[in-house]
Amino acid sequence: MTSYIDQFPEEARLVKAAMVSAFLALAVGATFGLLQVLHRTGMVRVLSSADYYTALTAHGVLLALTFTIFFLVALFTWGITTSLDRNLPSMRFAWGWYGTMVVGALMAVVAIFAGFLTEPPTLLGEELSASVLFTFYAPLQAHPLFYLGLAIFVIGTWIAGYDWFRTYWAWKRDNPDERTPLPAFMALTTMLFWWLSSAGVAIAIVVFLLPWSLGIVDSVNPLLTRTLFWFFGHAVVYFWLMPAYMLWYILLPKLSGGKLFSDPLARVVFVLFLLLSTPTGIHHQYMDPGIAEGFKFIVMVNTMFLLLPSLLTAFTVVASMEHGARQRGGTGKLRWLGKLPWRDPVFTGMALSGLLFAAAGFSGMINAGMNINYLVHNTFWIVGHFHLTVGTAVALTFMAGSYWFIPQVTGKPLWNRTAGLVQVLLWFLGMVFMSNAMHRAGLLGVPRRTAEPQYENFAFEGAIGSVGELDAQVVLGGTLLAISTIIFLVTIVMTMLGDRGEVPDNSYAGTLSGPEHSPAILDNLKLWTAIALVLIVLAYSLPLAAIVQRGGLFGPGIDGITRVLPPIDTIGGLVEWVVGR
């Protein structure tokens, strides 16, 4: 019996801690999700409508950043150590990056939650609050603690990435002729584009927003900080998604009783994500003034090609499941589907996530389609879309995965298989209701990020179904999701409180077509990183130069620094001068 905790007892504690952090964020974030649903529809309004935005900020930050990324670092730590069969070089160092992330997340969360107080405390001469949503578009301003917390959190992930890389380098020295195992390959390529893309948000925070919130500079260029946010903002969605892909590629085939259909294509897919996930961010700015149509078109082409790795994934993953089903006696064109292990919540949760991700693929294609963005931009459609992607493909895969991982890192068997099965089914159903209604409401023009989408001057009208019916569906879906979250948390807690017992072995799927079939060049990370950089420069240098030229590095009509630091003004002027050439 070899579970992860037997092989890597030290790392298992870290993985467990990171997963528990993720679940705490999920618990609080999902509570706000339910409150939002009830508030928007006007069913029950617990918070004031002004506080709604504080809650929404917490929901976005806790779920989209904290929950997802804590789970990611847990998963990648598992993937690196398991697939390289090697310990992290130093556990103290590893706890260091985990601690950095915790501190950063707590700082941001404290700043957000202070916004609920009627009289927020004052810190650094400013009221503590951060009701700026997780996109924190300037000139809405948060307390410096919020920006600082986010920056520290991101830096923690950078150090974690370095930790995985040095583990890999050490492994490489000992095994110079071996192919990089697939899970490690996935973690490393993902970290590479994470470094590239999060540099954008780090610059936005450290160079512009933090000094501005501290009063060191007077203003910012809102289009510039927004563009830097989205430089990171599209890549971050793949940062959420890659761990889910990793589980679909390496765990799902095994659970189905089969093997991964193609190791080479899996590598191609991750290389494509490394290349294309950053030079696509401007597709979140199709509706922005100040960016030329030509740039938007180029970015759309990049984005459309980014569909390719996901479409390839759909084939490879389904074929791997089919392989398992057929090995277990499945026959017919579709009858083999019945041979899949539908009573295993780990399998079923991931398979249902994949199904809803296919649906999300459709709304994502619409979102990518430049001019059709007039129809859906900033409507509830978008919220429907990303609750299928990050809210299900990622979140439900993580929850289902936890039913496998928590036994791995505790040595304790899952508390109750039926509870797990009910939980994943409820999430699926709840999300079908909620996101379907959100998509349809969006087509009627119902906006997102709005506490009371009920207006004095007009009402939303649709050809099919009324707003009342859509609201009812959203509330039903949200309620099912909340119940599902509770069952999940109870199952995890009960498992962790249980006794040690028999748990599955720590292993992942073999491959039908193995790494020996993939060209060695696929493992050349330096090459792909270099190409990714070139693509980023091509996609971003001209738009960024134009934005700085139009609005100034530090904002419209204000030439930079006034109060404390004249040197920055000089640097700003210099950069403006260079870019202006």
Partner: protein, 65 residues
């Protein structure tokens, strides 16, 4: 089916009836499903683009005059 007594996440090895290699395995089911998906995507795209979007005027247009 995996046995109800197996811990979840156990690969259902016990139930494997035959080993299929890459060349023996014909993923026809996947081909059927993915073709269906393709057709749905094309149909829904056409509807959303031409009916929901272009039929939803007024729209932002190029300056004519």
């Amino acid at each position: 089916m995996s046995q109800p007594t197996d811990p979840p996440g156990t690969p259902p090895d016990s139930a494997i009836e035959r080993e299929l290699t890459h060349d023996e395995f014909d993923p026809i089911g996947t081909a059927v499903l993915i073709t269906l998906y393709f057709l749905i995507l094309v149909g829904m795209w056409l509807f959303t683009y031409f009916v929901e979007f272009l039929g939803n005027g007024p729209t932002v247009v190029g300056v004519i005059g």
